[in-house]
Amino acid sequence: MSDIKLRVFRGQEGEGELEEYEIELDEGMVLLDCIHRIQHEQEPDLSCRWNCKAGKCGSCSAEINGKPKLMCMTRMSDIIEETPEDEIITVRPLKAFPHVKDLVTDVSWNYEMAKAVAPIKGPEEPDWKFSQFEAKRAQEFRMCIECYICQDTCHVLREYKKFDVFGGPRTMVRLANFEMHPMDQEDRVPEIKDEFGISYCNITKCCTDVCPAGINITDNAIIPLKERVVDRYYDPLKRIWRTITDKASGNTTRY
């Protein structure tokens, strides 16, 4: 068809620069196809993660013209259209995480966060009963493909590096999943507040805007969780009520 130029970040542990590649472009190609073509025709040691090439695994996240996206779901025709004519498309690794090489970053912190969230605790008897309506609420959060694009975008992590006090949007989505699971009996409000620092989120909705799975992270996960924290810790009437009834450890704020 035609040729296309791309500038791809090459280098290790943050040191490196954008290198220019020219490749042949066929109809319908996505950016990941271009990266593979560079690997197979020019630079076999170019590093990038990928697995499914169908937007289901969340491996091939990168910053394309400065915006974090899945390379497998970014059609070249769209990206060419949005790139000004005198500019060349750029592909960089996610900025929020420690750089490894080329387009690969060290995302292990996200796995530590996952482990820090207590697992589901439901009834021991099998054949749980709940409605599709109830299922749907948790299912939205379970559509997360762990591409960490939300984490990369969140300024609390990206700019302010609050990795030690804030779990980031992905962790909030996981917490919301369990918290709104119809059978979960764990009291998660204290850890949402203290361990995962939900108050650091000031609901700018950047994470929601970039989520490739279309999860309404801010409105459906973070805000309801914030409300539960506020109800538990900052609602004066409820505090008095709890003192009277001595139910401080119960799930009195659930709705």
């Binding site: 109809e27 319908g28 630079e43 076999p44 040691d45 170019l46 590093s47 697995n51 499914c52 299922a135």
Partner: protein, 607 residues
């Protein structure tokens, strides 16, 4: 000699898809010191791509279902070449494994009464697939991942296992792996080793598999002297995307047909009505009216009283029918068939039931499936063949080496039913983990054999020392094109023989690739090593395909178009390695005992 780090475990599980995670969870639960070694990040394995659902006779959506019907359907779908005992265990245990997933956090779609809902799929008599819209694989891998990280399992992410270690008797004593991130070498001593590496479909250029599907576990087992069976049986899923070229092969879930989608050719004809094989005669609707009524009943949540549409025939049958339409000049614009759900269900229903299909076609092909038909065609999707295992324990023919999931063989016979893979992973993953842990309690920690490890490390580093060779990516592309052309959905003796010759040339070429010297996340280096497995396993598959002179399930020979009613109807191909040579022999298949034979529906001849 290069450095390497050493580790001791009771149980090592290689692979972190559904089977690997389930095996590791069970091994750890049994008290074994357990580790997982996996090529990708956790949660990214090929299981994540499964869409339609997991088959289990829960009987929630239709109480006429039960393990006996599931057993019958699985055997019939496999054209009776299945290991009957595995088919029985699978049918009996899958329901409990699904219920268990629910308690570990999986949120399946619900029936009106609030239980796990089940959907219809090809070859299943009743609605049987527990599902989450069309992203069931994601749900299952995430659930197992969340369970696994709290089970005390050590996880080595982005490590590739390159060699198995063995003692003088051949018993598996551990493995050698390299860390893909920094290139460091690692040697593991393990009392039991479980292969859960998935499949081989990356050997074909049109495929639905992830990058990991380079036949690693198949090759590790073969190189260690284990037997593989049924390697000629490769499932070409009938509905992969066909346009644009860069997405060719990406899976379109069978759930589209399960939800009422119909297949038409360029003349607008529903050709599946004319493609019902002898063994399925009378099982399916014979008119469009009957098929439409079935969809109406199912959508309304009624028990179906009429027969299902012929689009829900088994995958091998539908794939070959699409192939025939295209070959005879009745294909869609880009050489497939039209799959239409837009005229069968409302836009809201389509988006609720098939959200990821809707998204995938809109984003990648510019097609709105609520308004227009999809173009679909066959894509290499699954290998029924693999490591020969004991039905109860999943132990291979090598002591201490177990296999579960797609890398193992026997359950699916000549053709796998949709939905039987996700349930296979959790049923036999659990058993492999359980028996691997059991074995580890009786034996001492194996000693690491320095000589074997050093030789493995040397082989792994070899590609980094080569200069001016071919780009491994180029060899990879050409190998896949060759397999697609010569060992594809329709096979002939002359092409299979020519493929074997070409594979010998590839064997030489892969020894001469070069990919730069960096040990840090060097994709070319990893590919150079993966290629060795791909060539080995492509050879095993081609040899088995050449030997089976009939057509059955996932193996179709243009020169022997009919199923053999004689020897091949009860014979298995066994492949193993003698030195560097791949050998093949035939073995009589064990037949089910009388009480199980009675459940089968063998009166109609297989196809």
């Amino acid at each position: 000699m290069s450095d390497y780090e050493t580790h001791d475990y009771d149980v090592i599980v290689i692979g972190a898809g559904g089977a690997g995670l389930r095996a590791a969870i069970e091994a750890a639960r049994s008290g074994a010191k357990t580790a997982i070694i996996c090529k990708s990040l956790l949660g990214k394995a090929h299981t994540v791509m499964a869409e339609g659902g997991a088959a289990a006779a829960l009987g929630n959506a239709d109480d006429r279902d039960g393990w006996k019907v599931h057993f019958k359907d699985t055997m019939k779908g496999g054209k009776y070449l299945n290991n009957w005992r595995m088919a029985q265990i699978h049918a009996q245990e899958s329901a409990d494994r699904i219920r268990e997933l629910e308690q570990w956090g999986a949120v399946f779609d619900r029936t009106p009464s609030g239980l796990i809902n089940q959907r219809n799929f090809g070859g299943h008599t009743y609605p049987r697939l527990a599902h989450v819209a069309d992203s069931t694989g994601l749900e299952i891998i995430r659930t197992l991942q969340e369970k696994g990280i709290h089970s005390g399992i050590d996880i080595f992410m982005e490590y590739t296992v390159s060699h198995l270690l063995q003692d003088e008797d051949g018993t598996c004593t551990g493995c050698v792996a390299y860390n893909r991130v920094d290139g460091a070498m690692h040697a593991y001593s393990s009392k039991s080793t479980v292969l859960a590496t998935g499949g081989i479909t990356r050997c074909w250029s049109i495929c639905s598999g992830s990058w990991e599907y380079t036949g690693d576990g198949h090759a590790l087992a073969l190189n260690a002297g284990a037997e593989l069976i049924d390697m000629e049986f490769v499932q070409f899923h009938p509905t992969g995307m066909v346009w644009p070229p860069s997405v060719r092969g990406i899976l379109v879930t069978e759930g589209v047909r399960g939800e009422g989608g119909v297949l038409r050719n360029s003349e607008g004809k529903r050709f599946m009505f004319d493609n019902v094989p002898e063994m399925f005669k009378g099982d399916h609707a014979e008119t469009e009216e009957e098929a439409t009524e079935w969809v109406r009943q199912v959508v309304a949540g009624e028990k179906a009283s009429v027969r299902r549409p012929p689009e829900l025939l088994t995958r091998d049958v539908v794939a070959k029918a699409i192939n025939k339409e295209v070959a005879e000049g009745r294909g869609s614009t880009h050489g497939g068939a039209y799959l239409d759900i837009a005229n069968q269900r409302s836009a809201e229903e389509i988006i609720a039931k098939l959200p990821s299909m809707h998204h995938q076609f809109r984003e990648l092909a510019g097609v709105d499936i609520t308004k227009e038909p999809m173009e679909v065609g066959p894509t290499a999707h699954y290998v029924m063949g693999g490591v020969r295992v004991d039905a109860e324990s999943q132990e291979s023919t090598i002591s201490g080496l177990f296999a579960a999931g797609e890398v193992a063989s026997g359950l699916h016979g000549a053709n796998r039913l949709g939905g039987n893979s996700l349930s296979d992973l959790i049923v036999f993953g659990k058993r492999a983990g359980e028996y691997a842990a059991k074995r580890s309690t009786d034996i001492d920690q194996p000693k690491l054999d320095t000589k074997q490890i050093e030789s493995a490390v040397k082989e792994n580093l070899e590609p980094l020392n080569r200069e001016d060779g071919e780009n491994p990516g180029r060899v990879y592309d050409e190998l896949r094109d060759m397999m697609q052309a010569k060992v594809g959905i329709i096979r002939t003796e002359s092409e299979l023989k020519s493929a074997l010759t070409e594979l010998n040339d590839f064997r030489t070429r892969i020894q001469n690739t070069s990919s730069g010297k960096s040990m840090v996340y060097n994709s070319g280096w990893h590919q150079a090593l993966d290629l060795q497995n791909m060539v080995e396993i492509s050879s095993a598959c081609t040899l088995a395909a050449l030997t089976r002179t009939e057509s059955r399930g996932g193996h179709t020979r243009d020169d022997f178009p009919e199923p053999d009613t004689g020897m091949w109807s009860h014979t298995t191909n066994v492949v193993w390695k003698d030195g560097s040579e791949i050998k093949i022999r035939q073995e009589e298949l064990s037949q089910p005992p009388e009480e199980l034979e009675e459940l089968l529906d063998r009166s109609k001849k297989e196809a």
